[in-house]
């Protein structure tokens, strides 16, 4: 066996005198303890009450108690001239319970048979929040915000405050830790209400390197300033914005600073008020943006891709040379090139150069030769002409064959042939002939 949980009292119910609706018997002394769940009041409504009437309900009566306190003692009926009848008014218990006691004497009138009473009860939610402050000086139920719930209530705090462990009172909360999300919202304690005096709060926005933080103050900005001859001075109340490697900036006055671009991924905000004066506070939204790198520029005889309106942290660009050109960096040829925009706003590699390729010396031709037709130093698009030593040799398929230095750094003929030509010997065609003129 194990213990069953305490049964929750019903939210509503009914109660009737003995033998109702038949006349109740004499010498009755009955009691009903009614209850509804904690956090509710109990409301009792009579649907019918017909009890022998007497002065002060001395003989037969229904008495309603809240603990020991009598809330009412009833007898008679609706139309009787004597007795105390509740009428149509319900009875509201101060708490979640009521006790009914019904008693009858030993005689009943012969002509009129009284039937007793019938009543319904129900749970009525208590609005704890509207209850007056206790007189014991313990303070209000909730120090800042009270939220009524069915059967109970909740305390809550304004922005900038945290609920204490007593679940009732609030404490200033402005050590917000580090804000490392890419965007967020910050505000002074209690904003838009004035915070308590002598506030010293620190907010640190620290996002990933490669991003910069922008602060966007809302229009509702108020930090007490002191008017001096030099103008407003943030003498006693201020919000100081500190960015590494920059002069700290103290803000005060009634005009919102609007947008502040910090160009840093770390920003510290220090809000200070003293014991005097009034500052209603401030609020801001912060956002982050990727660090921007300078435009990569152009590469002669090459192409930088992709072409963007701006180049930001983690953007990659690559460079490809035009056909016939090769990528060179630091005097060395490289197969491919890409560079990334770093968190410091610099490209991690400088752009390479595109140099024209060359095919090297064309292969010499045995029993023939090669001559340059156009171009420079065997460079791209140079054209050479192969020929054979005629009339003793001839090129297969033609007298001369031209080869062009192509983008793949090979000499190629018009027919896309890479192999250099061959000189074939000419047979049976002497340059001198036997001639006989005599007949």
């Amino acid at each position: 066996c194990w213990r069953l949980p305490d049964q929750e009292p019903p939210m509503h119910g009914g109660v009737q005198s003995p033998q109702y609706p038949q006349p109740y018997p004499p010498n009755q002394n009955a009691q009903w303890d009614l209850s509804v769940p904690e956090g509710y009041q109990l409301r009792l409504t009579f649907t019918h009450l017909d009890i022998e009437a007497s002065e002060g309900c001395h003989y037969d009566a229904l008495t309603v108690f809240y603990d020991d306190k009598i809330l009412g003692k009833f007898c008679g009926h609706e139309n009787s001239a004597d007795g105390i009848h509740p009428g149509n008014q319900p009875i509201l218990s101060p708490g979640n319970r009521l006790t009914l006691v019904f008693q009858s004497d030993d005689s009943n009138p012969e002509r009129h048979q009284n039937v007793g009473f019938s009543a319904q009860y129900q749970a009525i939610d208590i609005d704890e929040c509207s209850a007056p402050e206790p007189a014991d000086g313990s303070g209000p139920l909730c120090s800042q915000i009270c939220l009524n719930t069915l059967g109970s209530y909740l305390c809550s705090c304004y922005h900038g405050f945290e609920l204490r462990s007593d679940q009732r009172t609030c404490v200033l909360s402005c050590s917000g830790g580090i804000f490392d999300e890419p965007e967020g919202h910050l505000f002074s304690p209690g904003y838009p209400n004035p915070p308590p005096h002598a506030v010293s709060c620190q907010y640190i926005i620290s996002v990933e390197s490669g991003f910069t933080v922008s602060l966007n103050f809302t229009d509702n900005f108020h930090i007490e300033s002191v008017d001096t001859e030099q103008g407003p001075n943030c003498l006693y109340h201020w919000l100081q914005v500190t960015v590494p490697n920059q002069e700290p900036m103290k803000l005060c006055g009634g005009k919102s600073p609007g947008l502040i671009i910090t160009n840093s991924n770390n920003v510290q905000l220090d809000y200070h008020t003293d014991n005097d004066g009034l500052s209603r506070g401030w609020s801001l939204d912060y956002s982050t943006h990727r660090v921007q790198c300078p435009f990569p520029g152009k590469v002669g005889r090459g192409r930088v891709t992709p072409v963007l309106t701006e180049y930001l942290y983690r953007d990659y660009i690559s460079v490809r040379c035009d056909p016939g050109y090769k990528l060179m960096t630091n005097g060395q040829e490289i197969e491919s090139f890409s560079t990334m925009c770093q968190s410091n706003g610099q490209w991690h590699l400088p752009l390479p150069e595109c140099h024209i390729i060359d095919c090297g010396e064309p292969k010499p031709l045995l029993n023939g030769g090669v001559t340059f037709l156009s171009g420079f130093q065997n460079q791209y698009r140079s054209i050479v002409l192969y020929h054979c030593n005629e009339p003793f040799y001839s090129l297969l398929g033609g007298t001369n064959v031209s080869f062009t230095c192509e983008a793949d750094r090979r000499w190629r003929s018009n027919n896309d042939i890479v192999v250099s030509p061959t000189c074939l010997p000419v047979c049976g065609q002497p340059i001198n002939h036997i001639s006989a003129y005599q007949r």
């Binding site: 003793f392 047979c427 049976g428 002497p430 036997i434």
Partner: protein
Amino acid sequence: IIGGSEAPNHTIPWQVLLSVDGHRAGGMVIADRWIMTAAHVLKESGNTVPNDALRVYMGLTNVNTLRQSPVYTASIHIHPEYDNPNQVNFNNDIALIKLREPITFRASVMPVCLPEKGATYVTGMMGLVSGFGLTESNNNRILTNKLKYVQLPVVEQETCRASITSAKKKRSSVPRLTSNMFCAGVPEGGKDSCQGDSGGPFTLTDDGRVWAAGIVSWGVDCGQQGTYGVYTRVTHYLDWINKTMQEN
């Protein structure tokens, strides 16, 4: 060459002079590393002459000048079916000499074309035979130091066979005429190739292009009436020539 003329420079640039153990023979350039000649020039008594006994000259028409610039041989390839131990069987009388270094062709040295497959030898068609061999008849043996040539017609095969048959009646051990041979010459005699011309070219010309139709092989006497020179029929050996050159 009997009854011929001296060849002017550069007219027969494929002519090769072979010196085999002191004997003189002919040959012809067919590629930058290959000389074609007769097998009997390089194989005597069943033995192939050693490389160092063979000298190859080319490029000029005067033997005295020629001999100053020999070309070195790398290997000798005699037709595998040439078998002539007694000098009476000149069937398959063909051989190739591979040179150690390739020749650069010029006006004085040029290859002669090989015949087209299926090339024919038309009776009466004039050919040209050349060499540094004997220039007079057998009774008056004179060797020339100048390249000589003579133009001879192709002789009908049966006519040639008849002349050889006739010679057999007077002599013993006359070689047999086979289909791998053809004859050239004039019946009246006086023009012929002769000893020392063996291995040299008998060429025909088509469309201005000279091709090697025959190789000087053998004959009964030289330049005599009723006798003809016998030449190896090169068209029958194109496959062997190509195969030998490709494999070597």
